[in-house]
Symmetry: C2
Subunit: 300 residues, 2 copies
Amino acid sequence: MAAAVIAIDWGSTHRRIHVLDAAGHVLASRHDARGITAAQPIDHAADMAAIRTELGDLPILAAGMIGSARGWVEVPYLPCPAGIDALAAAVHWVEPGRTGILPGLCRGDGMAADVMRGEEVQLLGAVIAGLAPPDGLLCQPGTHCKWARLAGGAVADFRTRMTGEMFALLRQHSLLGAMMAGDVADGPAFRAGLADARRGDLLGALFGVRAAVLRGQRRAEDGAAYASGLLIGSDVAAEGLTPGACVHLLADEPLGTLYAAAITAAGADVVRIDAQAAFVAGVAAVFSRLAASLPLNRSG
Amino acid sequence: MAAAVIAIDWGSTHRRIHVLDAAGHVLASRHDARGITAAQPIDHAADMAAIRTELGDLPILAAGMIGSARGWVEVPYLPCPAGIDALAAAVHWVEPGRTGILPGLCRGDGMAADVMRGEEVQLLGAVIAGLAPPDGLLCQPGTHCKWARLAGGAVADFRTRMTGEMFALLRQHSLLGAMMAGDVADGPAFRAGLADARRGDLLGALFGVRAAVLRGQRRAEDGAAYASGLLIGSDVAAEGLTPGACVHLLADEPLGTLYAAAITAAGADVVRIDAQAAFVAGVAAVFSRLAASLPLNRSG
């Protein structure tokens, strides 16, 4: 089938570009480090022209941090609950029918504030693609880990934890850094971190990363795995999973394996989902809702 | 009374030097930024000579990070429980009778690892000076906040939380930094942080620092106070204080006011103690135990 739309998952540090046909199949993909915090300022209009020169003169739909205050155009957050129809209706057209930016989501007023940009496309796409049920709990680990509750196929509510950023902060800038030189994998040190996370004293347990090495109770090369277990374990524990609950997990390696271990250790079940496939399904669904009503250019 | 000993509280970034008479009265004090992580390497022997040239040819007793692996001489930790006699008996003499370094404390084997260096002198000194009871809970806020349980005048057990370091990490290096530009004081934003800390979801609440500003629910200039409330509130909450418990607090401003507010909000009572006076009393007590048995030089 002919190319119909270019979908861009445009994050802080990287972006993924997919050429889709009208049925949502991926015809080509690109991946580069031109996230919105890329060192060189991006001339977004010129960048779009370059993408079209390479991949085809197609409509472009972009999601993620590109729609933030630090991106190209700040697109207002859509309040929860939000489904795919609301997302499509709130697309901001930089150039009508040609270049659109999807909104992010926020929790509604009166609740503790939270925001997402880009993850909502994966969440809604996962349901549309049949990868996740319309009512369920989905987890997207990363720099800022998202936990979203879907109801009737819409994002009903969500919570963000700065688990990944905290790990990076501790390793790069804290006094624990020297004790966090090793690799992180699911092993005894990671599992010890998961267990200690259940005490609910993260600030105390983190100092213990250093103290245990100074006292000869843990090897420095196990510190990163232990600290990862503490942080991921704290993240999962705060979610308050009930035994037998099911979490649909959208994660690449190695986070997928680590979160699956933490969720399973908390007594819940895990179903792993292909996050890229979910994103593509989400953008394809938005595109199909827009294609009928807009004078979109097609090529190919 | 004549000068008898020079007491140095030698930390990571700063040190305080006191000249004491045999009764433990302070005759002179110095404060400088020559902590063990000072940019220029310190020639400790030359430094001691300079201190004696300025303050008198006296015995020197130093406590704190000077006795760590990154200090002058690594002095083994003394296991808890430890009182002032044990501390005095474990002084490491760099030069016998002339220059001694006090040991730090560690939790005994079989418990989660923890260490301190320097705080033990304040803790034991607070009891000796009559500032704290021999059986009680003492709190020393800072980069690494210590909570110590004393029994019979000895340090029975303690727990460290990296509360202060975490605040600095977040403000200097995290994505929350731009939302943490304001001053920290006990006010509505700090109190909101204390309240949210009780939910026990620190990683989630920290992301909320950013989200609340993005959503217009909190001013960026209140972010630092709110984050401080979250961290100090989490620190206090992890201690599991029972209503009516009493915490003896060794802290300068502004941490003294902030911790007192957090502890009071948790339903416990606070007694504030002069940390410098406690340190001086601790070193004086160690010195008095050593003076009888060692050929110490005196001057003045």
